[in-house]
């Protein structure tokens, strides 16, 4: 369930929305190389978090169970962020801002927390693979949408974003449940 939450959290519809903001200013540009840059940066940040997450919990004097509850709250907030389009959909003139905006979305505190939660449940390898895969899937689907539909299907995109955000809330609640029911 936590791995599924990671995929939902990265909400490809939000990635598409951010990308469409860039396309408003640069409709002629294809940015397939930017995809790679974003993927590498986001995957690296997630992987580092997976590796240092447990030490961070120790430094903060947090038990795994309390951390899961906190992670659940972060995930629910991220779902609302996606739902309400906070920090998304603005016109972006430079590629740098596109990279920053997408990386910020893919490596939000909620995503980092979920990566650590997967590490606690399933180990470092699984957490890194899940994080990298979630990044790749979200980027690919988001960018594919931009290529296929541009801004012609914004209503549909909006509904997809909201549905994925609602499902993300379930993932957040599940993390809280795990934290409460764990010993």
């Amino acid at each position: 369930m936590t791995i599924a939450t990671m995929f939902l959290l990265m909400n490809p519809a939000v990635v598409a929305l951010i990308w469409l903001g860039y396309r408003k200013e640069r409709p002629d540009r294809t940015e397939s190389r930017t995809l790679g840059v974003v993927a590498v940066i986001a995957a690296a940040i997630l992987s580092v978090m997976v590796l240092i997450g447990e030490s961070l919990l120790d430094a903060l004097d947090l038990s795994d169970e309390t951390f899961l509850i906190a992670a659940g709250v972060l995930v629910i907030f991220a779902a609302f962020q996606a739902f309400l389009r906070i920090g998304q959909g603005y016109a972006l003139e430079e590629r740098t801002w596109l990279v920053v905006a997408v990386v910020l979305w893919l490596t939000s505190p909620a995503a980092l927390a979920v990566a650590v939660a997967i590490r606690l449940e399933d180990g470092t390898g699984t957490a890194i693979v899940a994080g990298v895969l979630a990044v790749v899937v979200a980027l690919s689907l988001g960018y594919l949408w931009v290529l296929l539909f541009g801004d012609r299907q914004s209503l549909v995109l909006g509904w997809i974003r909201r549905v994925l955000a609602a499902l993300t809330v379930i993932g957040g609640v599940d993390l809280i449940r795990q934290g409460v029911l764990s010993i």
Binding site: E65, T66, Q81, G87, L104, S182
Partner: protein
Amino acid sequence: MSHPALRIIAIPVLLWAALLGVIRVVVAPAELCGQGSPEQFRDTADLAARWLSINQYDDGSYVYEYDREVDEFSGAYNVVRHAGVTMSLYQVAGKLDDDEAFAAAEQGTAWLLDNMVYHDDWGGPTNGSNVKVGSAALMTIALAERRLLTGESTHDDVMKALGRFMVSQQKENGGFFTKWFVETETMDRVSTSAYYPGEALWALAMLHEAFPDEGWDDAAWAAADFVTLLRDDEEDVPFPPLNDHWAAYGLAEMAEWGLEDHHTDYARRLAARFGLFIRFEAQKTDEGLNLQVRGDSRRSSALGTWVEGMAALWRLSKSDERLADISDDILEQSSCGADLLVQRQVDSNEPPLEAGGWFIHGVTRMDDQQHAISGLLYTADALEGRVKREPDR
């Protein structure tokens, strides 16, 4: 706000920073407990036992409640708690080879025996107006503990009379009525108790251990089924399972009898509940914003029960393979709670009415010491891998 840096970075970053701050204060403050050591835990339990024995009256009753802020004693008394305190003193005597604790427990037992009421074939200690299932149960456990400690059969008849009282109060579904009225010689068929069934469960299990051929296990099994399957619904527990450490003791006692899956499932959920409470308690600092958000520390009669419960569930997890996977986690939480008890105890340099006690808002009650003692003793054993609950001497 036109620059992209402000739009796409500043707003989300500020929101996340604010949220992380709120979460740190409200959801996930630092947990301020260490793991402690068996020696520390036993020393702390010993000092608490000294509070009980020093503050015992000549008739065998204990100082019930003391407010150090105004140097006043409460006029109240509670037979159930008297029996529980006496039980904990026998535990100290048995685990720490403490003659002073044993002498105090003997006086406490004498007080209970003096207050026994007999009717038909059963008996139980009374407060003058009624005989409660909880009093009978904890007195049974105290006497069973004494029997294990001394090897004497002096009070066997009393134990059996207490057992017959509990059985007479048991309902068809395994639950219990709560009390019998001395004056009218009638049973209270109205009130219920959340904790008496767990107390009776453990007491009946101890009776079966003491007298294995007398069929006490039938009542114990019925009580175990009631507690694990029905009690929380019947008592309208808002967020089940009820944090019932007595049930944990009882199930641990019955582990070798062969528990069913619903018993161990319940034990697993119970461990999670105690763990949650202990973690929450470990996050309290009693000062500043934390105090406003998280509230005061709970009294040790609450924290102690969670530690007791965890220590009992640790023994169960060591005896039942189905719970083996949570054994280490249980021990970690039990140690955390026991360490909090160590941190919060009044040290030995203080006056006799304070040294060894646990005070909240200036007040201590005798069962603050009782529950802390039991939790500390059995957690110390657990840290050393000792599954045997019975006295060591």
